[in-house]
C-alpha cells in the first residue's frame, strides 16, 4: 500500500477503525461534530477528549500525527483563544495596565479553541483511516437518497476521483512550468503583491491550457470506455455493514447521550 501514502493523508493500517465501513465512519464523524456543539461543561469536554484519544488508540495512529493535523489552523485557534481572553466579562483574575483577563473569558477561550482542535482532529482521523477511494464510495452512497432533491451524488464522487487522480499530475506540471519560466529569467519571489500576482501569470496560463486539454482528452477516453454517467453503474467494492459497524454506532449513541445528559441536567446553557 506504499502508493496510498502519497495520496491525501491516508495512513494505511488494519485496525478496528480502519476496517469500519466508510459510511459508518462518515456518520460517526458527523455525530461527533454534533456532540462537540452540544458540549457545554468542562466534564463534557473531558468526555470528548477521552473519546478522541481512545479512537486514536483504537486506530493505532501515532498521537503526534493527529496532533499535527491542527497545524494549518493554529493561528485561528490562537486568535479564538486571545479574543475570548481579552473580551470576557466577569470576575477579573489577572490584569496588567488596560488588559484584564476574567475567569469566564478564560474558560470560554479554552472551550472554543478546544472545540476547533477536536473538530480538526476527528476529521483528520477519518481521512487517516480511510483511503480516499473508499471515502469517495462512502460519500456517493450516503448522498444517493438526496438525488431526488437534485444532489448530483455520482457526479460529485466522480469529480473527487478525478481530482485525486490529477492533483499530483498538475502539481508536477506546475513545477515543470515554473522551472521552464525561471530558466527564461522569470522571477517568482520578492516584490509587492501585485508584482507577484503578475509573476504567477506565466505559470497559470500554460497550466490552464494544459488542464483543459487534459480534460478534453480524458472525457474522450472515458466515453470510449463506455462511461455514461452513474446510471446502471456497478462498483468493484461492495459496501457492507458488519458487526463492528454496529458497535461503532452504539458507541456514538452512548457518547451523544452522555453529552446530552450533561448539557440538560446542568440546566445551564451556553450557545
Amino acid at each position: 500500500m506504499l502508493a496510498d501514502i502519497t495520496l491525501g493523508q491516508y495512513y494505511p493500517g488494519t485496525s478496528f477503525v480502519h476496517k469500519l465501513d466508510p459510511r459508518t465512519k462518515i456518520l460517526a464523524t458527523m455525530s461527533f461534530i454534533i456532540a462537540v456543539f452540544l458540549a457545554v461543561s468542562a466534564t463534557s469536554y473531558a468526555v470528548l477528549v477521552a473519546f478522541v484519544l481512545s479512537v486514536i488508540f483504537l486506530a493505532r495512529l501515532p498521537v503526534l500525527l493527529v496532533v499535527k493535523s491542527i497545524k494549518p489552523l493554529w493561528i485561528i485557534i490562537v486568535l479564538t483563544m486571545g479574543i475570548h481572553l481579552l473580551t470576557g466579562q466577569g470576575e477579573v483574575i489577572w490584569s496588567w495596565k488596560f488588559i484584564s483577563v476574567t475567569k469566564e473569558g478564560l474558560s470560554m477561550g479554552v472551550m472554543m479553541s478546544l472545540r476547533l482542535v477536536l473538530l480538526l482532529m476527528i476529521s483528520s482521523i477519518l481521512t487517516f483511516t480511510t483511503s480516499p477511494i473508499v471515502l469517495t464510495d462512502g460519500i456517493e452512497y450516503l448522498l444517493k437518497p438526496f438525488k431526488r432533491v437534485g444532489v448530483p451524488a455520482h457526479e460529485l464522487a466522480m469529480m473527487m476521483t478525478i481530482a485525486l487522480r490529477f492533483i499530483p499530475t498538475l502539481l508536477e506540471e506546475t513545477d515543470r512550468i515554473m522551472k521552464a519560466q525561471m530558466a527564461r529569467g522569470a522571477e517568482f519571489k520578492g516584490g509587492n503583491i501585485i508584482a507577484r500576482a503578475k509573476g504567477m501569470l506565466p505559470i497559470l496560463i500554460p497550466l490552464f491550457i494544459s488542464a483543459f486539454r487534459r480534460a478534453d482528452e480524458l472525457a474522450v477516453a472515458m466515453e470510449s470506455r463506455c462511461y455514461h454517467g452513474g446510471e446502471g453503474r456497478t462498483s468493484m467494492h461492495e459496501l457492507v455493514y458488519r458487526h463492528r459497524d454496529l458497535l461503532a454506532a452504539l458507541a456514538m449513541v452512548v457518547l451523544i447521550v452522555i453529552i446530552g445528559v450533561l448539557k440538560w441536567s446542568n440546566g445551564l446553557c451556553v450557545i
Binding site: P168, S224, R225, M236
Partner: protein, 277 residues
C-alpha cells in the same frame, strides 16, 4: 466471414470555430476482418485519428456508414455494443487514466457497463496479468513510467473484453524501452488472444509488424497491402511525405546504385540475408 469493422463511403467534415468546413475523410471504403493486425500510416492531418474515432462511435459519419459486427454505429442502441467491443488506446497515457489507484482504473470500464460486483475483480486481475502489471495493482498511476501507464491504459480496455483494440499512436510519447514493451504486448494480444488490432503509427518499424498496411493522405486511402507490398514502393512512400523503414530505404538506395535486390526487403534481417547472398 463478417468483417468486424466495415466502412462504406465514409466522409467526415469538421466545422471549426470560424464555420470553416474541413473534409477530414473523403469517401473511405474499408473492411477489417476478425483477427487481423492492420497498421494505418500517413502524415499529420491525413485523417487517421478521425477514421479511428468512427470505429467506436466517438465520431459519427457526415456521410456514409460505419458498421461494427454488422451493426450501424449511427443507431443509438448499438453504441454500447460498439464501445465495448472496440476498445481505444490513445497517445497520451496520462490523460486516459481516471482513478488514483491502478486496479480502480482498470475496473472503470466494467463498472460502467454494469458488470456484477463479484465478476469485476477477476476481470481486473486477468487484464493486469496480460500486460504484466499485476504487482502494480495498488500503485498510484502518477508514479509509474510512461510505458507502465500505457500498459495500464491497455489493461483498462482489456477489462471490457473487446474483440478489437484501436491504438492511436500509443508509443509516440514513450522512450525506446517503453515503446518496445507496448509493441510486444500488442503483438501478443493479436497472436495469443486473437484480438483484432488497428494500429495507427508514424513509426514504420512498428507498421511492418502488421498483416496489412494502409497509407492515408488528405482523407483518402492511397496505398494498401502487405508491409512488403507497401514499403517496397519506396518512391511512392516518399511522395506521401513518409519514410520507409530503414532497411527498405537502404535496399532502394542499393537498387539505384545498380544492385539486384528484391522489392520486398523491409526488415533488417531480410536486408542482411539478401546482402550475404
Amino acid at each position: 466471414m463478417q468483417p468486424i469493422i466495415k466502412v462504406k463511403n465514409l466522409t467526415h467534415i469538421y466545422t471549426d470555430g470560424q464555420n470553416n468546413k474541413i473534409k477530414a475523410l473523403d469517401d473511405i471504403n474499408l473492411a477489417i476482418m476478425p483477427g487481423e493486425f492492420v497498421a494505418i500510416i500517413g502524415t499529420n492531418g491525413s485523417g487517421k485519428s478521425t477514421l479511428a474515432r468512427h470505429f467506436n462511435a466517438l465520431l459519427q459519419p457526415t456521410e456514409g456508414k460505419c458498421f461494427v459486427n454488422g451493426l450501424d454505429i449511427s443507431v443509438d442502441e448499438n453504441i454500447w455494443h460498439v464501445r465495448q467491443n472496440i476498445g481505444m488506446v490513445f497517445q497520451n497515457p496520462d490523460n486516459q487514466i481516471v482513478a488514483s489507484i491502478v486496479e480502480e482504473d482498470v475496473a472503470f470500464g466494467p463498472e460502467n457497463i454494469g458488470i456484477p460486483h463479484a465478476e469485476i475483480r477477476p476481470r481486473v486481475e486477468a487484464a493486469l496479468a496480460s500486460v504484466n502489471m499485476t504487482e502494480y495493482a495498488k500503485h498510484a498511476p502518477h508514479l509509474l513510467s510512461g510505458g507502465q501507464k500505457q500498459r495500464i491504459a491497455i489493461a483498462g480496455v482489456l477489462a471490457l473484453l473487446p474483440q478489437c483494440i484501436v491504438f492511436d499512436e500509443p508509443t509516440a510519447m514513450l522512450d525506446p524501452r517503453g515503446r518496445k514493451d507496448i509493441v510486444k504486448i500488442v503483438q501478443n494480444l493479436n497472436k495469443e488472444k486473437h484480438i483484432t488490432i488497428v494500429y495507427i503509427t508514424h513509426k514504420m518499424e512498428e507498421a511492418i509488424l502488421a498483416d496489412r498496411v494502409i497509407a492515408m493522405e488528405k482523407g483518402k486511402i492511397v496505398m494498401e497491402g502487405t508491409p512488403a507490398e507497401v514499403f517496397g514502393q519506396v518512391k511512392k512512400i516518399h511522395e506521401l511525405g513518409l519514410e520507409a523503414p530503414l532497411s527498405a530505404e537502404v535496399a532502394e538506395a542499393l537498387r539505384q546504385a545498380g544492385y539486384e535486390l528484391s522489392r520486398d526487403i523491409i526488415t533488417d534481417e531480410e536486408l542482411a540475408t539478401a546482402l550475404c547472398q
